[in-house]
Amino acid sequence: MKILVTVKRVIDYNVQVRVKADGTGVEKENVKMSMNPPDENAVEEALRIKESGKADEIIILSIGEEKCQETIRTALAMGADRGILVKTNNEIEPLSVSKIVSKIVEIENPGLILMGKQAIDDDSNQTAQMTSALLNWPQATFASKIEIADNNATITREVDEGLERIKVKMPFIASCDLRLNEPRYASLPNIMKAKKKPIDVKPVEELGIDVKPRIENIKISEPASRQKGVMVADVAELVQKLKYEAKVI
């Protein structure tokens, strides 16, 4: 079985994101970029499934500019086998990403797709669900446990009320939560080895998919900032303030 894992290149989660003064977007110049955090969990899970003997190849797919190759390399250094970059310099919405993934699925025929549950830049939380609907494969979203049996899998999902378990038939598509596993670090020898692993670069135009955005960004603005409040000396003062100043208790 082949596993297809999608990885998105995003501003690193530790960076304090700044809105550009002209309202056209956020500052991306000289900003540290990394793999979208839950995508690391997706890569890790794929590696574990392969190590358990249930898969024999892990393909990493990223959609975006040339530099996404770095993100793919990171996944290859963790242990994935090869990469595909669908190249475009334009912003690609989840709708288009799901169409591109479906196209790659036609070509590669994987038995399982793992994605992150949410990209931490656009915070959309859509792509896995859309891809599932397009392929007509079952979806296992917000997965914090994936147990693969012969022809099906039991998934533990993180839902607002707690945890839910579902059983899905293979092939299926999962969107991974950060609690799914602890992603490994790439060792130095594996980083070296990853340099020789193949990445197939396909311009998006070659796929014959309409990727024109449907949503227009009118403006990107800074949220209202909170006034820094006061420090209180002790608990007694805190309670007095809450009772008589803020009047919330």
Binding site: P38, N125, L178, L238
Partner: protein, 317 residues
């Protein structure tokens, strides 16, 4: 303009997110129709038909809809979509699971987690964990939207006089089987709508120590929240998590204890009216957004807080 909203419920009770979603829909039209799928839902269908703004309730009462399986819900919505300009659900794990499927089947982009409706096609949504607000315009003919429940007031549960209409749908079986759900049971207010939330972070050090948090929560009739670090460490279960990848809360009072204030946590609570931070590190970033900061060891401060609350002759709950 006609809007269809997807109701969230557990077959016996309507979730408050449904009210927020109706409230959001009422900003687009005064002709809101509600779709409710479930099993033995006669009572709650009737209940929803009385809600303000609701003109019609479409109900599909069938065993196959007892559990909210996205693969089963999506085709029903898609089959009804022709009649509506907007289809709305809540941006929680229920709505997020279903709506992108609906969008892709209609070949439209989904607009996630909106906090403001500027016009019928223009919306505001937070991106980058709430560090930026995007004003976006949808150029699709039909709008598929999830709304952030805490950003829309809950409307009245009466005053409406909608009709209830049952619908049929021939569900073809899908390859998904519901096994079970492990829900945390508590008598406390629901986290996402509570007036007061007391949250604990890694500073609590253990599940046992979370008793210090629940003691304060009991006295204030508050919900309990947690940082991702506290959930990851197993102090409390995942449904307590507040933040970018957890729940968004906007209580009147949010008390953060032993939480450093990472942006991913702030994403879920920084709109709270009053924020209190208790942390022993006076440099902790949480103090930058706190209305009242107390630099103290929580293991001393929480028992003191408990006894100070006892001393008050009245607590507004």
């Amino acid at each position: 303009m006609s809007v269809l909203i997807l109701a969230e419920h557990n077959n016996s009770e309507v979730k408050s997110s449904t009210l927020s979603t109706i409230s959001a829909a009422s900003k687009i039209t005064n002709d809101v129709e509600v779709l409710i799928l479930g099993f033995n839902i006669e009572n709650i269908s009737k209940e929803i038909s009385n809600y303000q703004y609701v003109s019609k309730v479409l109900t599909l009462d069938n065993e196959k809809f007892e559990h909210a399986i996205a693969e089963n819900i999506e085709p029903v919505i898609v089959s009804l979509a022709d009649k509506y300009t907007h289809i709305l659900a809540a941006a929680n794990t229920f709505g997020k699971n279903v709506m992108p499927r609906v969008a892709v089947k209609l070949d439209v982009a989904q607009i996630s987690d909106i906090v403001t409706i500027e016009s019928e096609d223009t919306f505001v949504r937070p991106i980058y964990a709430g560090n930026a607000l995007a004003t976006v315009k949808s150029n699709d003919s039909k709008k598929v939207i999830t709304i952030r429940p805490t950003s829309f007031d809950i409307m009245a549960k009466e005053g409406g006089s909608g009709i209830v209409e049952s619908i049929n749908f021939d569900l073809t079986e899908h390859n998904v089987e519901f096994i079970d759900r492990e829900e945390s049971k508590s008598d406390r207010p629901e986290l996402s709508t509570a007036r007061i939330v007391v949250s604990g972070g890694r500073g609590l050090q253990s599940a046992e120590n979370f008793k210090l948090i629940s003691d304060i929560a009991d006295k204030l009739n508050a919900a309990i929240g947690a940082s991702r670090a506290a959930v990851d460490a197993g102090y409390v279960s995942n449904d307590y998590q507040v933040g970018q990848t957890g729940k968004v809360v906007v209580p009147d009072l949010y008390i953060a204890v032993g939480i450093s204030g990472a942006i991913q946590h702030l994403a879920g609570m920084k709109e709270s009216k009053i924020i209190v931070a208790i942390n022993k590190d006076e440099e902790a970033p949480i103090f930058n957004i706190a209305d009242y900061g107390l630099s103290a060891d929580l293991f001393e401060a929480l028992p003191q807080l408990s006894s100070e609350l006892d001393k008050l002759n009245s607590i507004e709950k």
